[in-house]
Symmetry: C2
Subunit: 772 residues, 2 copies
């Protein structure tokens, strides 16, 4: 755990230069706008530790699979979003001496990621080896108004000399992934064009043939006045630059405004890429940096209006939760249903920018509650569009008749992952994708989604489950053999309770969905029956038979659901008895030892109880929680949120807060020593859930919002913004009461502490805390 | 299946050139002498499909592990016996035109591997692109008399021209493994020395720093007379050659005799390698090719005297079984306890020449029965010497107090393999290593082995088992969770019957062994107690507690042992119902589908029943056989032999013969389409077992040999040679009777059809078949 960042409610601030932590800081201070993103690398040369990272959403490369021992069925490649052109680069020389902070004495260093307005600023004084001293201030952002645009204001002031300042803004697309299975470069050259004050590079990904045009245009000012510079453009492979010299006086500020853009062939015809990039950049340059920045701040203000969480009395918590919301909004905007949410967003290469079940299980609720329903809907449509690939994927594994198995890891719908116990067996992801449809409709009320898209996905997944179970003559029930549940510290188990539960839930929901469509849109229903080749006689009956005869492991004596067959054969030790030196298990124990131990990586049975809580009485929930939580090591950042929510539900406010704390500042404090690889974007949504569903006790039942809030002991108050079916609400929880403000033009009835409350338009209700 | 080889009782013969099958033929016609070995590559240039392969036993390189997803506990490297210097090379030019069969018209091609005498011969007529025609006869062998020596006789006769023949015998140590995880070369250069008619290369393996000196010396004759040649020696990196021209007349034979040697620093001080190699080669050259060949033939005759199996009435079967015996004897001679038996022997790179449990489970019985006891004993001592590494290996996995887990795959005692379900979980190998001690003592009567070496290994393994089980409160018994049994088509299962059975057997045998040593060698016992830090009070008691309270899965209703918990939850389909297009499963089905299916790769419960058959009555054996065999796909070449032996025991002679057939000519007919990677050396021992233990019904019980033979319907007779405690026996089974000839100087009492027979020295007994 590292606590080198300054606590501030709206900004992440590094005071003083921490080169040893630079790769962590580069992750934390990342910028993104859903379309592109970038680690907080320096504009100027830096020979110290750095992980360059620029990413263009949707532009990926199928890197050839690396594996020790091939298993039949493995995918041939792992698709990864590529490290793309560096568009921020500005080489700086002072009388011919290169500015490189790794070689300078650095003082007054300050880096700020301003979350309220969405920009990154860095200021420092550097003393070069020659003794020359300069002051630099660099500010940049990736625009959320025009998501192809980035802009930089880079200011240099000589402090103790007059001389020549040489600046070389460049675009470098000759980039290599740090993560490349066979040390290959993934980009080839298409075109370079360098003009004196602008330049463009088009690079193409191998195999996938995406084109990305990256351009720059710049303006220089001294004393606030634009000056003409005599720049020499240069081109080399996948690289353009413009170099110019200006005379500088001691104390005189020279400012380079650099406007950049990334346009990809995903959004523009290849033949228009260059022209369009020029247009986009010219428009940005015309507006100018300050105007672009004003628009950026306004757009971020609107985002915060919808999604902010305020915490009074705990600035560190305030900073932590805002950071999570900020990063989630930087990662996914929901404007393009071809895109999704990589576990590291645009903050690193790890996991290759691919999509996991994290999206449906952890991220969806955040976007449902804080953005236009279209945003969450696009996450669903992403999977709908991958349905044919999911059917192909299932066919590769021997399934037939339109059964669909969504991949564990994907970009384009094809499976990328190659660990048999995950790729082939961690099939509960299929359930999460089905459940997301339910979740979306439950929240939005948009049940037309079923007929339009949902049923097709549900039928594909149900067909998979119905084939994936088999009849056990020994048990006279259906069993599900050889699966890996959410707890990846068990592999290839039989009858994982969570997986079996979500499987039959899917079957039930699919039957209901079909019935709903049949009743509400009979024509569409007929169309679907035909399109899906649905055997109306046999398939629903077979699904019902599975529902009615599914085996779920339980222990009657303990009154708990069993994570899987044989769980009680394990040595029943508890996490509290583990020596600290054995933690984290995944770094200290061999894999087999972890597998046969009782220890649970992340919520498994409890994940199921969380999803389907209304099925279980509090005592059942408590017994399972009390049994599994002490055996859970939470070595996935996706684990604590579920525990926080269940602890809150069980009235254990202290534990709920403890679980919240585990992820609240995960990346800000580099809690797991791995933030240098990138931020834990998807687990940030889990932290949001801990607050809203955990502390706030928010649920949607029967088309109504429910709240059962409590306030953590150390906080004065907290509040969160929620969008719900055309309403914007601000829920504030103080020590005394719960204040719900309806900021919309329509009244809304909701449940607080299980009491109906109708709140008029533009009004606020105050409800006293219910004492347990 | 390919049947392009000529059936012959003593030779493997290829008539006509089959370049498409060349890599298969190179495997099948391999030569070896336990110290070095070689694929049947051509001496002269060949630009067609070929897999060069020369191997020097014990000389390995730790190739960096390649893995998709690292698991804690994986080894850093995979040690592999390296492809070493090519010592057979002879470039041939005719009037400057290179002889390359890939570019010639080839006629009268014949290749013969003479198993009786241990040599490889190749003859052909080649018409070069220029039209020049030559006759070539090449004969070579790796000496089993001096196992560092190889010799080649290479004869060239121009058929339709007179001109210049240029020969360039060379040694090339600039060799790359086809199997290299990161495309590295593994050899570096130490020294080259080229003289006109001899030359030497010393190459060193990276990281392990083995030195191997490979040398050549040659003599040329025309008209049977040695001629002087004016050879120009050349050296380049890791390569020496001597090039000379001779005038040749049409019809005149020129013969190059090339004497070569491979000496390694495993057997010679590095500083003496060059000198010693010169000595060895000079001695060989002095003897001359024909004399060396006579010695070779005599030595092989002696081997056959001990190990031959004769089959009358089935020449293909005769050829098949001799091929297996020949290859086993080429692979391992038992003279060096640092060496072991790679699954491919010296016939290919696959499996890296490493040691598997194949050695103990399948190969040991062959060497026990056909060679001096020292040979089998050295296989045991190999493991004894690795005991400290096995203890380290167990420590890496969290075991303590001297518990030993032998590696799944090894050369130097360290684990090489990196699939968690195998490396960490296929722990039954530990049992096989314990059982081999029992097997050796049962056969040889050499129970002093226990005190000298055996007990230490047994205690280490027993300590492992005692820690690997855990007490299940649910079952009130010990369970063994998370294992992979011999059937690798199941992974990470609980309570694999075979593994649990061999575990408690080990504990029992260790207790007996300790008691035996205590009674017979009390001083040594005290020494061992101290050396092993044996807690005499606690450890044996704990082992006994495990023995007494172990859980074994069974199904009472079916009266069978269950392969593992939950086996009967599987869909109970049978192999006969599998469509042919689904076979082999491991190429047609995804791994998860294989795992959750009922199908068994190789004997698992039946392997246990085979090992411990005296514990079970025939009906129990039959029920288990009848249950498991129809579910077994035999996709390991190690599976059929166990089934053959059990089928024979159950009186099902037809099935026994069928199982024998599956591996009898596995490589000769390239049954599995994979012989190009090398021959299935360890499964050859299984075929031998099918004949001797299956058809011959040979067992050792209570210090006596037992036979219960039958004769397969299509055979006139078969006979096999057996060494047993100083006796040499020839057991011949005809349609009429069983003839047992005692070729030794002492009478021997044995059991035939459960009747005691005493056979005098140099006498033969004839016993009529018992009719069932």
């Amino acid at each position: 755990m590292k606590q080198y960042l300054t606590v501030d409610e709206w900004s992440i601030i590094e005071e003083g230069f921490h080169p040893d932590y630079n790769q962590i800081t580069e992750s934390v201070f990342s910028l993104g706008n859903g379309r592109m993103g970038q680690r907080a690398n320096f504009e100027e040369t830096f020979s110290g530790e750095t992980l360059q990272g620029n990413y263009v959403a949707g532009v990926y490369y199928p890197d050839k699979t690396r594996v020790g021992w091939w298993k039949n069925g493995y995918p041939e490649y792992f698709a990864k979003v590529l490290n793309a052109a560096n568009w921020i680069g500005i080489d700086v020389q002072l009388d011919g001496e290169t500015l490189d902070l790794n070689l300078c004495e650095v003082s007054d260093f300050r880096r700020e990621l301003n979350m309220r307005e969405g920009w990154l600023e860095r200021r420092f004084t550097a003393t070069l080896p020659s003794g020359k001293q300069v002051r630099v201030e660099a500010k940049r952002f990736t625009s959320i108004v025009d998501d192809e645009v980035g802009a930089i204001k880079y200011s240099v002031t000589p402090l103790n000399f007059s001389g020549t300042l040489t600046l070389t803004p460049y675009v470098d697309a000759d980039i290599m992934n740090a993560d490349s299975n066979y040390d290959e470069k993934f980009w080839t050259e298409v075109l370079q064009e360098a003009q004196p004050t602008e330049g463009y590079v088009i690079a193409e990904t191998k195999k996938t043939f995406f084109h990305v045009c990256t351009g720059q245009k710049f303006v220089v000012t001294q004393n606030g006045q634009e000056i003409a510079v005599n720049a020499s453009p240069t081109e080399r492979t996948k690289y353009i630059a413009s170099r110019f010299e200006v005379a500088v006086q001691q104390g005189q500020e020279t400012v380079l405004y650099k406007y950049a853009a990334n346009l990809s062939s995903e959004n523009h015809p290849k033949e228009d890429l260059l022209t369009n990039t020029k247009k986009v950049i010219s428009a940005a340059a015309e507006k100018g940096f300050e105007q672009l920045l004003r628009e950026q701040a306004a757009a971020w203000a609107a985002k915060w209006e919808e999604s902010d969480i305020m915490i009074e009395g705990d600035a560190a918590a305030q900073q932590g939760i805002r950071f999570n919301i900020f990063q989630l909004n930087q990662t996914y905007t929901g404007e393009d249903e071809r895109l999704n949410i990589g576990p590291k967003g645009f903050t690193g290469e790890k996991y290759g920018g691919t999509t996991y079940w994290d999206t449906e299980a952890y991220c969806l609720p955040f976007y449902l509650a804080t953005a236009d329903p279209q945003v969450a809907r696009n996450l669903l449509i992403y999977r709908y569009k991958h349905l044919p690939k999911a059917i192909e994927n299932a066919e590769k594994l021997g399934f037939t008749g339109g059964a669909a198995l969504y991949p564990m890891v994907t970009i384009n719908g094809e499976e990328c992952h190659n660990e048999w116990e995950i790729t082939f067996e961690e099939i509960h992801r299929n359930g999460a994708i089905a459940h997301a449809i339910h979740d979306y409709i439950r929240y939005t009320g948009d049940d037309s989604y079923l007929a339009e898209y949902g049923v097709e996905v549900l039928v594909g997944i149900s067909r998979f489950w119905a084939q994936r179970v088999n009849w056990s003559s020994a048990k006279n029930q259906y069993v599900m053999l050889g699966v890996t549940g959410p707890n990846e510290y068990e592999n290839n188990v039989n009858n994982n309770w969570y997986t079996s539960t979500i499987a039959t839930w899917t079957l039930e929901y699919t039957l209901k969905a079909l019935q709903h469509v049949q009743e509400t849109e009979p024509a569409r229903y007929a169309e679907l029956v035909s399109k899906l080749n649905l055997n109306e006689e046999k398939e629903p009956a077979q699904w019902q038979h599975v529902i009615d005869h599914m085996y779920y492991p339980v222990d009657e004596e303990l009154g708990i659901f069993l994570q899987q067959d044989g769980f009680l054969d394990k040595e029943q030790t508890l996490v509290k008895d583990l020596p600290a030196s054995d933690r984290p298990l995944n770094q200290k124990w061999s894999w087999d030892r972890i597998l046969r131990s009782v220890f649970i990586k992340q919520a498994d049975v409890l994940q199921g109880i969380y999803l389907f809580e209304d099925r279980y009485d509090l005592e059942t929930i408590r017994r399972n929680y009390d049994f599994y939580e002490p055996r859970t090591v939470h070595e996935s950042s996706l684990s604590p949120c579920v525990h926080a929510i269940l602890a809150a539900k069980l009235g254990d406010e202290e534990r709920a807060y403890e679980f919240y704390l585990r992820t609240a500042r995960l990346d800000l404090d580099d809690y797991n020593n791995d933030t240098e690889d990138g931020c834990h974007i998807t687990s940030m949504a889990g932290t949001w859930m801990s607050v809203v569903q955990g502390f706030g006790g928010m649920r949607v039942r029967d088309n109504q919002l429910h709240f059962n809030p409590f306030i953590p002991a150390g906080w004065s108050s907290y509040s969160f913004k929620i969008r719900f079916r055309g309403h914007l609400l601000n829920i504030k929880v103080t020590k005394d009461n719960v204040q719900i403000e309806n900021q919309s033009a329509q009244p809304l009835t909701l449940q607080v502490f299980d009491q109906a409350q109708t709140i008029d338009a533009h009004s606020k209700a105050e409800i006293a805390h219910q004492l347990a």
